[in-house]
Amino acid sequence: MASSIYLHIPFCATKCYYCAFNTYPFHKEQAKDYLVALREEMALYAPRTTPLSTIFIGGGTPSMLSAAALTQVFADLNAHFQIRADAEITVECNPGTVDAEKLNVMRHAGINRLSFGLQAMQNETLKQLGRSHTVADFLHSYQLARDCGFDNINIDLLFALPKQTMAEWQDTLTKVISLAPAHISVYNLVMEEATPFYEWWKAGELPLPSEDTEADMFHYAIETLTARGYEHYEICNFARPNRTAKHNLVYWNNQACIGLGTGACGYIDGTRYANTRGIADYIDILQRGIKPVTHAERLTEQAEKAETLMLALRKREGISLAAYQERFGEEIETELGEIYGEWIDLGLLERTETHLRLTNRGLFLANEVFVELMS
């Protein structure tokens, strides 16, 4: 049983050069069929949910859908699932794709959180990333959202971008902090295969900052954001008090979540699954009333342990010793064996009264730790 849903809207106006997400150009007719298929899929999963406490509508660009289409999606969700009154319901928006009408529709449908993919505060940088909006577009969209009454807004930022200097990154952070959003995510750019950036990078044509600059940028973000009242509660995530992303915490606590839509991933009753990535395929399968799952893996206990540790250690508070013991019937220390002591000696891990967590240093080297957790 699950009490969270991720719903994927796979359309984007353009594809950013670094993006490896499952996205396609928008076709009105196809979008219509897609929403019908989504409804079918909701019906298949409805019996496997308890009242929902988080919903995340991501993409792609969900905000590309028309106000009418968005209304439809929310009506379908409400028809199939029970949604708790205090549920966190997020929609991902791209600057420049929302207007007052859409925002009002969302607001009335019960959406209480927006996530804007801004990435950077310089037009030149946005252009180099292949983003389809300007800084002004973002400011306009953000203001509209605030005017509509959205007070729980996240802004996604990227650092370690080609040619990006420390000064530029500082400029981006300063400007974003001045907008006082409830939540800020800072992600370092990752080279994903099958993206233009990856190809350019392989060809030696993408001047990325050095590892040291990247570390300095990350360090600066942590220092600045925490000094300005944002709680650093996950490696890449910062929130004002009581504004942590509940939906993302579901992932980090390795709890069940249903994934709906093309390429969406879910985790239910100990099994991880992924849906087919193609839109036509997705629609076709659901017309036959079958779940569009292409990969499913029942986690071994070992895999579940590794994933639980890897996800929970992303949180600044770390992993709850009691929760781990309750879930797996053994202590973390026993599971980790030798490396437990080694990591503490290396200053990567530390133990509090109730939790095991990454140190400040460990935070920067989280991957080195996670790799060792793998069997």
Partner: protein
Amino acid sequence: MSKPLKNIRNFCILGHIDHGKSTLSDRLLEHTNTLAEREMRAQVLDLMELERERGITIKATAAKLDYTTGGQSYELNLIDTPGHVDFTYEVSRSLAACEGAILIVDAAQGVEAQTLANAYLAIDNDLEIVPVINKIDLPTARPDEVRRQIEEVVGIPGDEALLVSAKVGIGIPAILAAIVNRIPPPQGETDAPLKALVLDSVYDNYRGVIMYTRVFDGSVEPGQKIQLMETQRAYEVEEVGIFTPQLQPVAALHTGSVGYIIAGIREIDKAKIGDTITHHATPTPIPLPGYREMKPLVFSGLYPADTHQFHALREALEKLRLNDASFNFEPETSIALGFGFRCGFLGLLHMEIIHERLEREFGLVLVRTAPSVMYRVSLKSGEFIGVDNPAHLPELHHIERIEEPHVNIDIIVPREYIGNAMELCQKRRGVYKRMNQLDAQRVQLLYELPLGEMLTDFYPKLKSLTRGYGSLEYDIGDYKPANLVKLDVLLNGNPVDAFSTILPREVADARGKALVSKLKALIPRQMFEVPIQAAIGNKIVARETVRPLRKNVTAKCYGGDITRKRKLLERQKEGKKRMKQIGSVDIPQEAFTAMLEMDE
């Protein structure tokens, strides 16, 4: 039925690498219908996949060709020979089974170092030489010039050279005619006691040892009891046969013929190459002279990247040795690399081939340490020891003297590159011997230099300094004393035995600095600072530091795709496993061969 001796010819094809030996063999097989065309594959005699890929012959092989001319039918036994300096011993072995040799020279390249070396081997073995100028179809062919070189440089009449293109099939009948007319038939007593030479031996899982042999006197057939004269062991012959080039059983092998004998021998060491086979009951009184046994010259450690593969590596080495008695191995322990084997090889190519075969045919992943020669060390205590692993060199104050093996090298280069070639030899502690003018364009340079200097990149450097035109041949020379020291490398304060090298005192400091900075570039940043030091005895001669890793954290799990993230981490872990951990420092495999690619 056996052929009278006058209708048998035993010959081989000699020449510099790439001058077309294997292609010519194929053409001869084709022309005598030894193989139907559909059986023809380019370079039939190169049996191993690796041989075909590298375009070189490693093991000698043979084929019997049936050829009719002037109303007479002949049995022509072609013995293919390896074409690389590391395998010279195989060439000389093949020559002992022949009365004549085709010396193949590339019409565009002309006489090269190996052409000369092989021609001299043939002359030493009293073989009749049939010179052949190959590749005359090339636009750059200079047959008249090459004819002159054969006459003046090699010293055999140039007007006897046949003009051939093995590739397009020009001049093949003339070669066959020359084999019959110019190469003498084998001598031998058909009624004398059996006297046959073991040319080579290979191991077959089902049949045991298959001995390749040339019968000099008498004959041999299944059911007879034979004896190997050196090992004094007797065996019953199960099968005899000829090479077509596949093995084909026959009723008997007669005087003058080349073929194989299977006699239930289970260990390849019992069928020593060069040994004489005779009848147990009526042995020949005098064995054949045999061969000088080849001793390994180049030594290197082979270690499984995954320590669990140690036993698999041992089994693989044992299997390979069944077919190649010219390399040896013994268990060795390295503090850095764990359990592995010290292996001795005939040369660098031999080493690379064995390494590659172990990985390819047995699915192993290996770490190979830098190659070393065998040093002779006299200790102050009056004792002498051989050191083939630099890590085992005793401490300096125990050492009276170190001697290292030298080679006599013979380099042929176009005139404009003499300077480059000499400079390279000089840098590698070479001692100039002589220079010979070969023709208007090319000279032959003779140097003596330490074999150890040839192990670090010498041949590739020579090639690049001469734009690919330089050719090289060497002969093993004497051991000579030198002022040598051991250079150690310490990682994080711990000496890494696999990085130790022995080198001349005067270059040790500079080499230490270069090695340390090379290692700095190869060793990834770790969770802590890693000092890299080079030391001679207790004296640190160079130091660099690998700064600690500062950041390795991936942004997020895309749309909750946690499985993908986990798989990614699992792959990274696999990658880490392939590195060697020393102390707690992860070292990638390239680091262990860094010594080999040092810039001058």
